[in-house]
């Protein structure tokens, strides 16, 4: 059995258990967050979470730990940050086309 970590197999989807592991929380806690709608599984796949969701939840947990916001607030912050990033990208694109 090889322990060589390279090349890395990239994860695209995670199970609830993997998601919990990826975010350093218990599976029970992760399941609770799903029930509360703070973490969303893939459409039509209740035990399937995207890597983007793992990144999102890790951000939420950091925001809670570092700034003391609760997870509902952190979810809103992450939503707004994603929107801001989309708008930034759009602005950069429009600038490239000479719109501003």
């Amino acid at each position: 059995m090889s322990v060589t970590p390279m090349p890395r197999q990239a994860e695209v989807y995670l199970s609830l258990r993997d998601l919990a592991l990826a975010c350093g929380i218990s599976t029970t806690h992760a399941a609770l967050l799903v029930r509360l709608g703070l973490v969303e599984p893939e459409p039509d796949a209740p035990d399937c979470f995207s890597s983007a969701t793992a990144l999102r939840l890790r951000r939420m947990l950091r925001l809670r730990g570092d700034l003391g916001v609760n997870l509902a607030g952190a979810a809103i912050i992450v939503d707004l940050m994603e929107r801001l990033e989309r708008l930034d990208a759009e602005l950069t694109r429009l600038r490239g086309q000479g719109w501003t």
Binding site: Q9, A10, V12, L55, D66, L67
Partner: protein
């Protein structure tokens, strides 16, 4: 080992006389302003550095013992000055190389006054395991990568990473490389790497969900009479039967020539566009004039197919 003096009061923007409440308030405001997760992706690395400084300053100034020890150095020091620890200060008990990475979140200056962490013991130095930062990047892929998957070496934050690209990955998907981000501190876990897939536009194929679309220009007679035409697909050329009476805009399906999805594949659609010869030969021109004469539709009305 000379280190650079850090002015923790300056970092938090408070006077040396600041009360515990003032320090707490300044820290909260700065943490909110510079938290890496609250910055656009391009600013995140810089914010992470600033956030570290702010945390270090807070670690010292919010702890009465540490603050007293720091204040005892005197008020003459300015940030950035070469600093030699006073005699009796706890030199790093285990680490002597001055390797900044080994204490991660806190500076050598911090370590020169408060000591470095030693495995397991909690004496004065850094106490809390801090997870490493996540690193995000873009992974530009071609349609070929999506169709076949494969290996890719990428450089991210100056590090080289080998990534296995899963076959059938989609534009906008995120790949997670567990534990490949920044190193953790004090036994904290390393961060992850997250790669956002950006599919470069292909000159010939457009991606529509699991399917691909390609333009199929046809001459009028091919569209009217039908034809067997050779079209390119990602798997090589195939012969496509165009049925008689094919209109512009018709979508002719080549089953299973689209993007991989699980064990199956989407379809490739050839979207018909009827084009007219701009410089017909004399014989072609004659044929079209004959066609106009014999056509049942009037020549002075738009077509009504």
């Amino acid at each position: 080992m000379a280190v650079k003096f850090r002015d923790y009061y300056e970092v938090l923007g408070v006077p040396r006389t600041a009360s515990a409440d003032e320090i707490k308030r300044a820290y909260r405001q700065l943490a909110r302003k510079h938290h890496p997760d609250l910055q656009p992706a391009s600013e995140r690395a810089r914010a992470a550095e600033r956030f570290k400084e702010i945390n270090e300053a807070n670690e010292v100034l919010s702890d009465p013992d540490k603050r007293a020890k720091y204040d005892a150095l005197g008020a003459d020091w300015k940030g950035g000055m070469d600093f030699t620890p006073p005699p009796g200060a706890p030199r790093g008990p285990t680490v002597t190389t001055g390797d900044w990475e080994d204490i991660g979140d806190f500076s050598d200056f911090f370590a020169s006054i408060f000591g470095r962490p030693t495995g397991g013991t909690r004496r004065g130095g850094v106490r809390v395991p801090v997870p490493g930062n996540d690193i995000e990047g873009e992974l530009p892929l071609t349609l070929d990568d999506v169709l076949h998957g494969g290996q890719r070496r990428i450089t991210l934050d100056g590090r080289s990473l080998d990534v296995t690209i899963p076959r059938g990955i989609r534009d906008g998907a995120t790949l997670r490389l567990a534990g490949q981000g920044s190193r953790g501190v004090n036994g904290g876990p390393p961060g992850d790497v997250y790669l956002h897939v950006r599919l470069a536009p292909h000159p010939r194929y457009r991606v529509v969900g699991d399917d691909l679309e390609t333009d199929l220009p046809l001459w009028p007679w091919q569209a009217v009479l039908g034809a067997d035409v050779r079209v390119d697909t990602p798997d090589g050329p195939v012969t496509l039967t165009v049925p008689p009476g094919t209109q512009s805009g018709a979508r002719l399906r080549l089953r299973g020539r689209g993007l991989p999805r699980g064990d199956a594949r989407g379809d490739l659609y050839a979207v018909v566009r009827v084009v007219v010869p701009t410089r017909p030969s004399a014989a072609e021109r004659e044929a079209y004039e004959t066609l106009r004469r014999v056509a049942s539709a009037p020549a002075d009305r738009p077509a009504t197919p």
